[in-house]
Symmetry: C2
Subunit: 221 residues, 2 copies
């Protein structure tokens, strides 16, 4: 079994629960942090000390507070860690169940498991740890279909960008200018209209307001 595990989650109560699972699994050394930056530093330090962590269990969303953070989310942390320390095993433990996000983490950033917090979260986490230890990938049942290539993945990043900008009060004209400035294509007003129209149909929304409301309810933005 793993020898040295780091738990990263801003909610103390979650940390407690995860800890109880880890303890049950006969893991010798466990440490906890509540900030992504602390996780990064601890992992780096441990390698320098020649006593690296085997496994990181991390939340994805961290509430911002007064402490300025280099890594403000679990994703940012995972991406950085995967580049620098590809050998470290990582389990994401999150309330989110967006297939898009799961797919991104597993396929692009070599995350080893994605466990959804929920009624059976701790049970699944236990399974995840055991599965990852055997060098296999674990997904919670709710997101298991994420890796199925025929699962039509909702909407892409561009769409998310569009709706996010809308929700921030940008007019479609503003969005066009914004995208042009960033050299992102498509950026024409016409294309933006087309994409939003497609999204309205897809989400059965009457208008842009409705679309933003629906997508917000789904937690996609």
């Amino acid at each position: 079994m793993f020898k040295k595990v780091l738990i990263s989650d801003d909610l103390g109560s979650i940390n407690q629960g995860v800890l109880s699972v880890v303890n049950k699994l006969n893991i010798k050394e466990t440490q906890q942090v509540q900030y992504c930056d602390d996780a990064y530093l601890k992992i780096k330090k441990a390698i320098l000390d020649d006593a690296p962590f085997d496994l990181l269990i991390t939340d994805l969303s961290f509430v911002k507070d007064h402490r300025e953070q280099k890594y403000s989310s679990g994703e940012a942390l995972i991406i950085a860690l995967n580049k620098e320390f590809p050998k470290l095993k990582v389990i994401a433990y999150s309330v989110e169940d967006r297939l898009q996000k799961v797919r991104l983490l597993i396929n692009l950033h070599n995350t080893n498991a994605y466990v959804c917090k929920g009624r059976n979260g701790l049970l699944e986490l236990e399974k995840a740890i055991q599965t990852v230890y055997k060098n296999k990938i674990f997904l919670s049942p709710q997101v298991a279909q994420a890796l199925n290539p025929k699962t039509n993945l909702e909407i892409n990043d561009f769409d998310i960008t569009l709706i996010t900008l809308l929700s921030k009060g940008f007019s479609q004209d503003d969005i066009s200018i914004y995208l042009k400035n960033k050299n992102i294509t498509p950026s024409s007003l016409s294309s933006i209209e087309k994409h939003l129209n497609k999204l309205r149909i897809q989400f059965k929304a009457n208008n842009a307001i409705h679309l933003v409301a629906i997508v917000k309810d789904l937690g996609l933005i």
Copy 2:
């Protein structure tokens, strides 16, 4: 100190954390549930058995699953309990920090404490239990201002109706027709525009989309 406590939260990991706090406080009997209906039944049963609970610590949002529930949220549970068993002390333990909601629970439904899940959630929960035991109300610092009467968080029901209808895809014209049908005044398109304009200013929103997004984020709709 309290003698018999019930913890209600759908996330197992949270339950664990809360449990550790309760145990620290020298409370003799603790029980846990993951569904609001179970909480209600356990509390009712305990009273019939002449061994009632002193305190309920409950989450507010419960993820729906296959099990059909009479009480689908912590609020619904609290409201029902307060009517039937007004003596039971209740602590809400939630990630939400909407002042509106806090005010509602404390003032209307006699909730005794509102603790925000967060980095210091368990610490605050401990304080909350002790404070409630002394028959005082406890609020997490982030929501402490909720009860301050000069905190103006009010937009009225009509405003909420307008924004809610917007978020459901109604055009302003649709809203006008809808209100006329329901004999609600004002109902003219012009008045609706005026009210929404006022709200846009109040919430510093650029347009209706932005307004709906902001108000959704605030949890007002």
